[in-house]
């Protein structure tokens, strides 16, 4: 058999396997059960508008708080890790290694329940949800710090030398020359961080939430048990995609734009 014939035959076999698998699914699947359990329009209608005005809105708000907080704390940690002062480096390294090594769920639980028991004066804004958000900031900062540090180190040494030899102080060199270039370099991994934070807001349920504080996953869980029907889960899934997909698209655009001036 000629190699080209063999290749074509192989591809034909792959198509056949695919079609058989799809056909089997269609035949075996119980479409009626699926439709009533996951796509019940009556149950779906009942979720509006709260699933948008409360649950989805809260996802966006929590993500914003955790990302901005994580960015500020992460930048501080990254600069500490690159500091000439050794104790700063130790503290930053210990922090980063600790919180990257712990499950986010455990940290949220700790901030919401363990810390209030230990420190009675600990009284974060937003109650237990607020405590959970602080935990999200603390965890995301560890990852963001490593990303920013890698970005700073990826800026060529000649850039710092040029700025310093023009008489610019280290702080101005960092702010005006190094960080703008570092943030361009790390746009893709930072998007990943953002998407991870969006998804991690679903872990906040462990903090225990007031009704108005619920985000999508908690809201959907409650609705599922209330209606004994999984449609709210499908809706939550779609809404997560509605939030994350434009974001990844937008960042892809920004990246192309940055490429031009790099």
């Amino acid at each position: 058999m000629k190699p080209s014939t063999r290749r074509r035959l192989f591809r034909a076999v792959l198509y056949v396997i695919f079609l058989v698998a799809v056909a089997a699914l269609v035949i075996v699947a119980d479409w009626e059960t699926i439709a009533t359990n996951f796509l019940d329009l009556g149950v779906a209608a009942e979720q509006f508008p709260t699933i948008i005005t409360t649950a989805a809105k809260n996802v966006v708000i929590y993500t914003f708080i955790a990302f901005v907080g994580g960015l500020i704390l992460g930048l501080t940690l990254a600069l500490m890790k690159l500091s000439p002062v050794a104790p700063y480096r130790w503290v930053a390294t210990a922090y980063i290694e600790t919180f990257r090594g712990l499950p986010a769920l455990l940290v949220i639980f700790g901030f919401a329940y363990a810390v209030p028991i230990a420190f009675t004066e600990w009284n974060p804004p937003g109650g237990s949800t607020g405590a959970g958000l602080i935990a999200l900031i603390v965890v995301s900062a560890a990852y963001i710090a490593e990303t920013i540090r890698a970005g700073i180190e990826a800026v060529p040494k000649g850039q710092v030398e040029a700025a310093r030899s023009l008489g610019m102080r280290p702080s101005w060199t960092m702010i005006s020359v190094v960080l703008p270039q570092a943030f361009r370099i790390i746009t893709p991994p930072m998007t990943n961080e953002l998407v991870i934070i969006i998804k991690d807001t679903s872990l906040l349920f462990i903090a225990g939430m007031a009704l108005g504080d619920r985000e999508l996953t908690t809201f959907a869980r409650d609705a599922v048990s209330q209606h004994a029907n999984s449609t709210p889960l499908v809706m939550a899934a779609l809404l997560y995609l509605v939030i994350t997909l434009p974001l990844t698209r937008l960042v892809a655009r920004l990246e192309r734009h940055n490429q031009r001036s790099r």
């Binding site: 101005w172 270039q181 790099r262």
Partner: protein, 251 residues
């Protein structure tokens, strides 16, 4: 002495018994070197002989291991010195240009003026435009570095250094990264600067430039100054064996 005073009666650069180690590797082995004010000194020598290290020590981009470096009468190895202030007096042009890629040409030229010299935005822009015109790039303010040829980028880098009103300019192989057809424009700018009386230290492999423009030629090899003198004389009749060997390869 920690106050920086611009004196015209002393050498621009005076280096004495400069040693520099990278780890155990002694790269500069007791350099005595000076540049008088208004003088153009070309430094030549084989790759790895320590030319860049010497140049970079002059504004402490590299920390000297021992020895003294006196810039316009001020010992810059003094811990108390305001190094940033000294650096604004010393313009440096690098082989790889090192323009800021995220800023357009105008911002490349105004950034340090505003940050280090505390000039107003309009004053900085005026000075930037004047220097861009000087290097033959008037009208390119809005371009980004990656939209320019290597020769244009290097001329922007020269204009950027000039915008700080330096007393001297240090060039580290400014044309070595350029395509041959772009070398001439950069050398022309440097020649103009020299004719205007700028104090210059030029590490270069362009022997033609050294002969025409240089007031003095310094030949380095193995971390020491082997020979120095008038460029025409050295290039025509090198005294030292190592100089002869080097020149026979590059000429």
């Amino acid at each position: 002495m920690s106050e920086y005073i611009n004196r015209k009666d002393v050498p621009a650069i005076a280096v004495q018994d400069l040693h520099k180690y990278f780890g155990k590797n002694e790269v500069l082995k007791g350099i005595d070197f000076h540049v008088n004010q208004g003088e153009v000194v070309c430094v030549v020598g084989p790759s790895g002989s320590g030319k860049s290290t010497l140049l970079r020590c002059v504004n402490r981009l590299e920390e000297p291991t021992s020895g003294t470096i006196v810039v316009e009468g001020v010992d810059i190895t003094d811990r108390e010195i305001d190094l940033d202030r000294v650096r604004t007096k010393i313009g440096i042009v690098f082989q790889q240009f090192n323009l800021f890629p995220h800023l357009n040409v105008l911002k490349n030229l105004t950034l340090a003026q505003q940050r280090a010299k505390k000039r107003s935005k309009t004053e900085a822009a005026d000075i930037a435009r004047k220097n861009l015109a000087k290097v033959g790039l008037a009208g390119r303010e809005e371009s980004f570095p990656n939209q320019l040829s290597g020769g244009q980028q290097q001329r922007v880098a020269i204009a950027r250094a000039l915008s700080m009103d330096p007393d001297m300019m240090l060039f580290d192989e400014p044309t070595s990264a350029l395509d041959p057809e772009l070398v001439g424009d950069v050398l022309d700018v440097m020649r103009t600067l020299a004719n205007e009386g700028m104090t210059m230290m030029v590490v270069t492999h362009e022997m033609g430039f050294a002969r025409e423009v240089g007031d003095r030629l310094v030949f380095m090899d193995g971390g020491v100054v082997v020979e120095q003198g008038k460029p025409k004389e050295i290039l025509a009749a090198p005294q030292h064996e190592r100089t002869q060997g080097f020149l026979s390869k590059v000429l």
